[in-house]
Amino acid sequence: MMNKSNKNLKTKKIWRIIFWALIGAVWGYLLASGMITLPQDADIRIYLVYEYDLMFALLALIVLVLLVWNVKGLFRLNAMSGDLQNLDMPVTPKEKLLNTILKVSTYNTIVSLIWLVLALGYALGAGNSKDSISTYMVVNLVSSCVMFLIAIFLQNRTLVAFNKVYPNRMLNLNQSSQKEVEREMFADMDEGERWIVYRSAYSAYKTTNKMLIIGIVLFVLYSVIFGFTPLPIIVLGITLLVQQMAYHREVSRHYN
């Protein structure tokens, strides 16, 4: 019975590979034969009034949503009672809310940072003289900066809330070294919590691997359509390499 299901799985895998190979072959032929061409005067930049305004507007909207979610979550968290004594569940409602706020706060910080660096890059980019920095660019830059600072503040507040809910595993917010913070936090965990961290880390490693490869493929396609752009491909390739090296270094430390 087990052998039959294994055989079926293998057959399905083979058909899937053949299917994707066919798709790739057709797509490759269409591109190479010149049957699909981009019109010379095509302007595929999507914007309303200013360049990249839609992209920055989308980033601002995401940051705003996450910010409101974070603030609302913190208020709700403060209003909740934290009595764990008679609760027999893996995660109490207060802990569940705290986990959600921690995630939201982290995503908020990352997205606002991305907005800030993109705004900086756009405003100070090559080809932009001091005079060509428009009001739009300045407003964009200042807004992203303000939102990033608010995101940092909210993350600090979230970590203070974390320390209140988990007084036995307090994060030392005054530590100057990130490494020390991580070491302390890991040292305070028991075996079950470390097991969760290991599983989560492995899941993150696998996902990042896939995303890096997808990113490299996308930039190759981008190069084919819009012109050769080696830098993103090189950066992603180096990141993939460093990730693999870090993983294998850790493995060999325990096997040697």
């Binding site: 764990l84 008679n86 027999d88 569940m89 028991d190 079950g192």
Partner: protein, 68 residues
């Protein structure tokens, strides 16, 4: 294939202990006790011995192997 089964919840109910109280007594977190009870996590030998000692029973009376 074998899996680890346990009577932690049953013994906790016998001694009227919450997950939080048992966790404090054996030096683990409440989340770890919950993971063990759900069968998601197999505790280390050390933690198993501590749990068994807390319930005043043998380890084999708390944890056993079941063939699936």
């Amino acid at each position: 294939m074998s899996k680890l089964v346990n009577r932690v919840r049953e013994l906790r109910a016998r001694d009227q202990l919450s997950q939080e109280e048992l966790a404090k007594r054996v030096g683990a977190s409440r989340q770890t006790i919950a993971l063990i009870e759900r069968g998601d996590y197999s505790p280390s030998v050390l933690l198993s011995l501590k749990i068994a000692a807390e319930f005043a029973v043998q380890v084999e009376d708390v944890f056993s192997i079941q063939d699936e």
